[in-house]
Symmetry: D2
Subunit: 383 residues, 4 copies
């Protein structure tokens, strides 16, 4: 098996999500980290490289330098793709440059700082002929795959209602005034964009909803709040949804839901059956039926689709977690990159979130903010 | 201990809620059923009386007859109060007459068919000097009492967010076209009023929210749907809430959430802590904290308030259920009636839902329908 | 419907289990409490009667007086049966006398103080031609009925393994040295018999095992402990089981399992499927299958047997609890008494625990103590 | 950071546990797989190497060849340690040889085929001055660490009772007669040893018990069964435990518990508090207290010890699973190897299971079989 070579933008020492991306990229043994612009501080970038077992001569001072220098290396040595794990405002610049210089890209969400950038990046991806993946990692869980398959195969009948929530409590107090690096950029519109919780977790809820149901959110009515004193971005939101084919729903997000850890949960109700899943215990999918008892599906367990089981790495009853779900995005991306390197044409529907999902996320953020600015009036996602 | 004598309006053979009221009234041994107008069909009323061990001469043909005849009996024999367990359109007439003729009343919810009737009944209660209780039974659970106490005592800090849902699936198909008596009147505006699921279960969710948080819902934005073909009343709704003191929330109801049984669940988030409770496993209250581990409270268990423990009838670990919660409303009502019979003045804040709660429920229904008629615009509950 | 008249032995003010029996007897509206020897203290017996709404002239000084005086009343007035809710040493004397004087009996468990008494009572029941029921209340839960039906109908295949536990923590400290009435007699062999936790909760676990599996425990090996300083009776036990048809199991009991409330839980494994049930959340029965997903059954819910649904009093999703399970024993007993009064012959397999179950319980206690005295050697239950 | 180089014995294509070891070794980025004797079939070994990205010249025909050839490589190139992932009968030979040739060893459990071999290996480890780790992976979960810390710090008081179970159902049918490679060697005493389920899962339950409680099992009484037709080794067992300091317990294992996946669960009861943990939802630890409400701890969550949090790789609410627990054993082993390479002396109490734990496991198996051969009489683990 050939391994792919990864270059990373961001993710220096102390980074939460950079560490997650690296672990996720290792689990399936298909990817080696070979270089990085780990920090805007060159010294820290080198120290990070040392700690990560990356050759220090490939610890670059900036993403520009990394992309330029790596492009000059012989093909057998140079990185195959760039992984972007910086705050939101630093997604677009490296992504665009990498694509232009011929590198595939995998990027954290939300895809860009602004909706405008998202449209521009969409064009850049198409123009580049390169692969772009977005780490909406929660779609990597086997039970999410199972739910999507059940809906797609019509087991639930016509979808009528979605109840989705993503509730955290870690910003209940003014953590941005402490040394919490995660909080400080998230409350800063220059780095985060116009959405606070909306962008950070709302887009996950939006993406998960569309992924499982296979239906687009057509319009929404959003009531957003900044509970934290002095915050200019939302840290809480309650949103009504209208989806394709007359499905309806609620989407509730919060980063001030005291005591909640990472409670992303979704329930999808159809005419024949329903499913419920919660990220904090991701190895169970509950199915409800018109006239049969409730069922509990487990990864690789009895009655699951083979197409969901292929996303498990261990036998039933051996729980998988956040890192494995994340790794699935990396694995699917890596498979596509390898196939394309071997001459295959691009998948029409690749098995990972794409720039189109990224654009949807930005449209969701912008629609919600526009709705909120108009006292929760309905706003279309495509306006 | 003196026992109270109860007369019942409705609740003939085959009635679900009549049977519940009777069982609930028996559990604490304070109430005897002595008479009834169990059915609009006199024969069925008599048969019901026989099955219930009620003297057939006190099985009346109509509530009017019951109230009139009982009023003529010597005080030691006649019923002390009337229990009304009919469909919504038959709440107001017997309630008003009973109050006027000097009987206390306990009545199922929603309190009346229309908002107008609710206002009129409020006046009738005040004028009568009699006790009126409404069976919002879910406030009778010990863990709901505990939650209310925790909020009231400031343990959760300032309340910021409420996520409440009441999801059922029994009307996913056209049950009203079968012989399901429960369904047929619920889809009929003449018997049910302007709300479908709104009145049947939405008012419970609304009442529970206000009961636990101690805050009134100020305004709402409601997106209602009639999924069932041919239904004129809502069978599903998604509602945004704004409460007193800047709390926000979502309230989601459904009777077409396939596979759901009776999933009333509420989460209340404050600045210091949060609580979560679900009716289907009512003997657990989960508390979340800023800096302490999650806790699970149980009725009468470690760390519960004595004021919640007094609502349990068995030791911790011996589950109580729906009938006990319902019985608590009857017990509190009976205690008040007995106290007033003994000469006490009325409680200012009686320990059961009152006509005022009933009026709130009707205002909730009317606001939600008005909002929905205006594409989910915000509507105040007191407009 | 004719109602039955109940006389009670024990259950004076402050009694836990007497109150439970009374509530359970009321829930279905078939039974009236008409007399009692509520306490060995005549004054307290009268006060209890007053509090319970029982005529004080039928508050007797002793069970002997009650049985004698009631027997002299005209049949239309006198009690139909005796309910015995005293500590263990006071089960046999009133049960035997009541049977001899022509009264049916319902009695708390374990059935007697000694194995000898149990054999003697078995003879007395047979001789009397009267009905004797034992309140192994946990067999009254609808999901226990469902489990028994699933086993009985062969759904699980051949039963191979049982894992049953009954864990409480309320005796973790020396509660018997406080004013805890429940504890003081339980640690006293003169009142409790040779078993401590064995008799109090072990017999429930034993009975539940035999009830659900339909198999008798043939022999056991018991390792008992008295953890509480100065206790002469066991407060904890770990027991190996061998059942009919080569099934095996473990049975673990404790009253010093700190923090446990009333954790009676059972898992039964067969060749085709398995079931799991826990008393603290009794409205769920989990079924496991060879090649199908796990299922969750609920009372009256999808896929349950009609024969289990008849034990529910409310629709699915409306939880029932301890009192309803207990009430089911009373109801089944009352139906049998009414049928026999109407001239029916006795049921061969009545729908409630009988003197034979009581004898099994005593054999279980005696076998366990004998095994423990011989360092956990195997002892047959019929030796 | 220097990385360690790993050689693997076993784990060729289709191996379950070899794949697990490799993934676990990758998660923390400290280990590279550089060589292997992946299969007794040389061709398959080479194919496995290719699939794994291992140079084919380092895909050896046998573990002997691997150890010999690698020892001849310059230190900078040769493997640092051997990972043994073969069936039980192939643990001892490569482990002993590797130690003798100067390689550290990490090995799957149970440590050897026989007790005799375990004693011999213990001597070999001591003589070698090399590090030996055993992958009792369930001790790698953060919540297991937390439980051990709570016991060790006296939070639970004196330990009185343990209830541990490890229940699987995958051998409910004759899977060994299918092409299931996992089953066929497990039922063969020549490859598995004298224990079936005992060795495969019983040793995990035994190890977890001793790890969390810090107490040794002194003696046991075991009732073992081979339910599967024709099986000579146990596939089910029920065991009574007596531990140091008068603690007691039950240990129940099964591979024929139909429908169970990987249900390893433990409850530990002390005089002040108790803990409960289940492997299938490993991110929760429930604590019970004498006079406080139940608590739920989560990895890195409120109230956890820093010493348990260091075993989490992601923030609270981001579930970790089986692979991360396994990775923790590899990481702790790798840290020790790196430290020793840097000249540190060996840890007296290394942070991973050692040869001593391996010996305990074999003593457990032998005691259980001896007890079972004597009708479940008590047998000391050190006899």
């Amino acid at each position: 098996m050939k391994k792919l070579k990864m270059g990373m933008v961001g993710g220096g020492q102390g980074s939460f999500i950079g560490d997650v991306h690296r672990r996720a990229s290792r689990i399936d043994g298909m990817i080696d980290l070979v270089c990085g612009a780990f920090s805007s501080n060159p010294e820290r970038s080198i120290k990070s490289a040392e700690a990560l077992g990356v050759a220090t001569e490939r610890a670059y001072k900036s993403f520009e330098e990394m992309i330029e220098k790596e492009a000059e290396l012989p093909e057998s040595d140079r990185m195959d793709f760039v992984s972007i794990v910086t705050p939101n405002h630093m997604h677009f610049p490296p992504a665009k440059l990498a694509l232009e210089k011929g590198f595939h890209v995998i990027c954290d969400k939300p895809v860009t700082l602004s909706l405008e950038e998202a449209f521009e990046l969409q064009k850049a991806v198409k123009k580049s002929g390169k692969i772009f993946a977005l780490t909406h990692n929660y779609t990597g869980y086997p039970m999410v795959k199972q739910a999507r398959l059940m809906v797609g195969n019509g087991e639930l009948g016509a979808i009528r209602k979605v109840v989705v929530q993503y509730l955290q409590g870690w910003m209940s107090t003014a953590v941005e005034e402490t040394e919490n690096k995660q909080a400080s950029w998230r409350v800063d519109p220059k780095k985060s964009g116009i959405g606070g919780a909306l962008g950070d977790i709302g887009t996950h809820a939006e993406n998960l909803t569309e992924y499982i149901t296979g239906k687009k959110i057509l319009e929404l009515a959003a009531d957003l709040t900044s509970f934290g004193a002095g915050r200019v971005l939302d840290d809480d939101g309650n949103i009504l949804l209208r989806l394709e084919d007359n499905a309806k729903g609620t989407l509730s997000i919060s980063q001030i839901a005291t005591g909640e850890e990472n409670n992303l949960a979704i329930r999808v109700y159809g005419t024949k059956g329903s499913v419920a899943w919660c990220q904090e215990n991701p190895n169970e999918l509950t199915a409800y039926w018109l006239d049969k008892p409730k069922q509990i599906f487990t990864p690789g367990g009895n009655g699951t689709y083979p197409e969901s089981t292929e996303y498990t790495r261990v036998p039933p009853g051996h729980p998988e977690g956040y890192l494995e779900g994340f790794a699935t995005i990396y694995r699917s991306f890596a498979k596509e990159v390898l196939a394309v390197k071997d001459g295959a044409t691009f998948s029409e529907r690749p098995d990972f979130p794409t720039i189109d999902d990224g654009l949807r996320g930005m449209q969701f953020i912008y629609a919600a903010v526009a709705s909120n600015d108009n006292n929760a009036a309905w706003v279309s996602l495509t306006e």
